[in-house]
């Protein structure tokens, strides 16, 4: 049956969502008629094969010890505002609007972003024993300064707050989920937000972003309604799937029952988790290079397969979160430190090169 068909893919979909003549910088067209939206982190877009597909539900599993999920949320939200995309932000804080003041500003000049390696390359012969690190830098540096609005994914300077003109005159909706007894009103809010997006004819603003922080936080009134929360996520997923929007939800797995945590994870299209790295962890310092610069670890558990059944197999699923010059968020593959010839323990501890999600975070 399937063998007789000559098509390469079972799916053929017309990218008729947006007129191709109005190519918006906030969108990228991918294979199989998929449309991507940037996550705000260039490295993450590369890892995921383009970005977050339109209509997908992204879940981030938080680590109670460190607020790294906020970095991901901030960049996601800031990217949307830079592209004038409507944003709905919900958090358990009593005044979620205040969070907008912490969003990072895009870097306008490429000169600031020149990597330190460029200057090193002139030094002469270097032994590149971790050669994969250098593949990315072969790309030519764009000489002309590009307006950040025309870039698909901007580099964000975490030390500089987002300029006011990005925040004013935009469709930004902030909701506090702290005092909600149940999620019905919030569900209606999301529904209204998504309906509003579809009615807009203007291309640049017809992509919406929903960012929900710490959905299962204990201070929320509905937090013990396990099935209620699950039901909300299910209906949000169905609304998102048929709309031009992407939703990012962060939650803490330790606050949910294990069975429910698994159900939440199954509902996601893209599943990420962040983990804190303890300071002065000597064992980890021995095992990895660049340990001192690492802020945390990002694990990619699930990647959405847009319009195809073939799963995405990543080269690595665990990445280190680093802040370059304390400003720019980068994700790097983990590189093993050179083995000390005297002790053979490193070989014993290092398992397979790519992470298996069954094992712990340190086992990569």
């Amino acid at each position: 049956m399937a063998a007789t068909k000559t098509r390469t893919s079972s799916f053929s979909r017309n990218p008729s969502l947006l007129n191709s003549s109005h190519t918006s910088p906030g969108l990228k067209y991918g294979p199989n008629g998929s449309i991507f939206v940037s996550s705000g982190i260039p490295d993450l877009d590369k890892i995921l094969g383009g970005g977050f597909p339109l209509g997908s539900l992204v879940m981030i599993m938080e680590d109670a010890e460190a607020p790294h999920h906020m970095l991901l949320l901030r960049n996601f939200m800031a990217q949307g505002l830079v592209h004038s995309q409507p944003l709905l932000y919900a958090s358990p804080a009593s005044d979620p609007r205040g969070f907008l003041g912490t969003l990072p500003s895009p870097v306008l000049s490429k000169d600031d972003k020149l990597r330190a390696h460029d200057s090193e390359q002139e030094k002469g012969l270097r032994i590149a024993w971790q050669y994969k690190k250098y593949f990315g830098e072969q790309q030519p540096n764009l000489g002309a300064q590009q307006d950040c609005k025309h870039e698909y994914c901007s580099d964000f300077d975490l030390r500089k707050p987002l300029e006011r003109h990005f925040l004013s005159g935009q469709q930004i909706s902030c909701v506090s989920i702290q005092d909600l007894v149940n999620l019905t009103s919030f569900h209606e809010h999301c529904s209204a937000f998504l309906n509003q997006i579809q009615r807009n004819d203007d291309c640049t603003s017809c992509i919406g972003r929903i960012a929900i922080q710490s959905l299962c936080a204990p201070q929320c009134g509905y937090s013990n309604m396990d099935w209620g929360m699950l039901s909300f996520i299910r209906s949000l997923k169905s609304m998102i799937r048929s709309s031009n929007a992407v939703a990012v939800i962060s939650f803490s797995p330790s606050l949910l029952l294990p069975a429910f945590c698994k159900r939440w994870q199954h509902l996601s299209d893209i599943l990420l988790s962040v983990k804190a790295i303890q300071d002065e962890d000597k064992e980890l310092a021995k095992l990895l290079t660049g340990y001192q610069d690492m802020v945390g670890l990002l694990n990619v558990h699930k990647v959405a397969r847009a319009n195809t059944q073939v799963p995405v197999i990543l080269e690595a699923t665990t990445f280190s979160i680093k802040l370059q010059k304390r400003r720019y968020l980068t994700l790097e593959c983990l590189n093993q430190a050179p083995v000390d010839g005297a002790s053979g323990t490193s070989y014993a501890t290092s398992g397979s090169c790519s992470g298996s999600s069954k094992t712990g975070a340190l086992d990569f």
Partner: protein, 226 residues
């Protein structure tokens, strides 16, 4: 390509008696996907595809249990109607497959009443004997493995004629091999010994590794992929 059909079909066709209906339960976890399940069933399905969207299926609040039961009832009625229509027009009863993707969504949609969900399953099961269609249920094993009383999944495993479990490879990720699948097939053997028949329930286990392609799923014995 042909090899795929041979391995899986051989395994699954073992129970293809004239009565038709089989119940197939497919269990997956987060690392492997249910896409395998859909692919397996699609290989044997007829051209017509009736799709009932369970994501948007609406059931009222927990307080109104009767209405919520009604949600499942209406879902069942839709399924029954679709099956009746397909089998009457097709003329070939054995080619209809009901695929439930996935049962945990039905649970969420039904707002937790797992009694109602298991009733719903039993009703769907009656369709297999009435119309001779195949019932394929996708479930997530890791959701239930951490529960104390995983009633629903135990019931499903009990009712199943074929149990397919997909797991990731124990060694980690690989681009050639997407996971491993184990099939457990229960079948009755009837031995005619003159005056009486002897029936016994036997099981057959098969283990394959698989790779998911766009159009199909390729299954092969471990180590035989070239």
């Amino acid at each position: 390509m042909n090899q795929t059909r041979n391995l899986l079909d051989d395994a699954l066709d073992l129970n293809n008696n004239n009565n038709g209906g089989q119940v197939v339960v497919i269990e997956d976890c987060i690392e492997t996907s249910g896409a395998l399940g859909c692919n397996l069933a699609m290989q044997r399905e007829s051209e017509r595809f009736h799709f009932l969207d369970m994501l948007s299926m609406h059931c009222p609040d927990e307080e109104e249990e009767k209405l919520c039961e009604g949600g499942l009832v209406s879902l069942y009625e839709k399924i029954q109607k679709a099956v009746e229509v397909s089998s009457s027009t097709e003329g070939n009863k054995n080619s209809v497959t009901i695929m439930i993707d996935d049962i945990s969504l039905v649970e969420v949609a039904a707002n937790v009443s797992s009694n109602h969900v298991s009733d719903f399953l039993h009703y769907c099961l009656t369709l297999t004997s009435d119309f001779g269609c195949t019932l394929v249920i996708l479930s997530h094993e890791d959701v239930y493995s951490s529960m104390e009383k995983p009633m629903l999944i135990l019931q499903m495993e009990y009712l199943a004629d074929v149990l397919i479990k997909t797991e990731p490879l124990a060694i980690g990720l690989a681009s050639d091999i997407h996971g491993q699948v184990s099939l457990l097939i229960y079948f009755l053997t009837v031995v005619n010994r003159g005056r009486y028949e002897k029936r016994s329930l036997k099981t057959k286990t098969s283990n394959f590794q698989f790779k998911i392609r766009d159009n199909n799923v390729e299954c092969f014995y471990p180590g035989s992929q070239t």
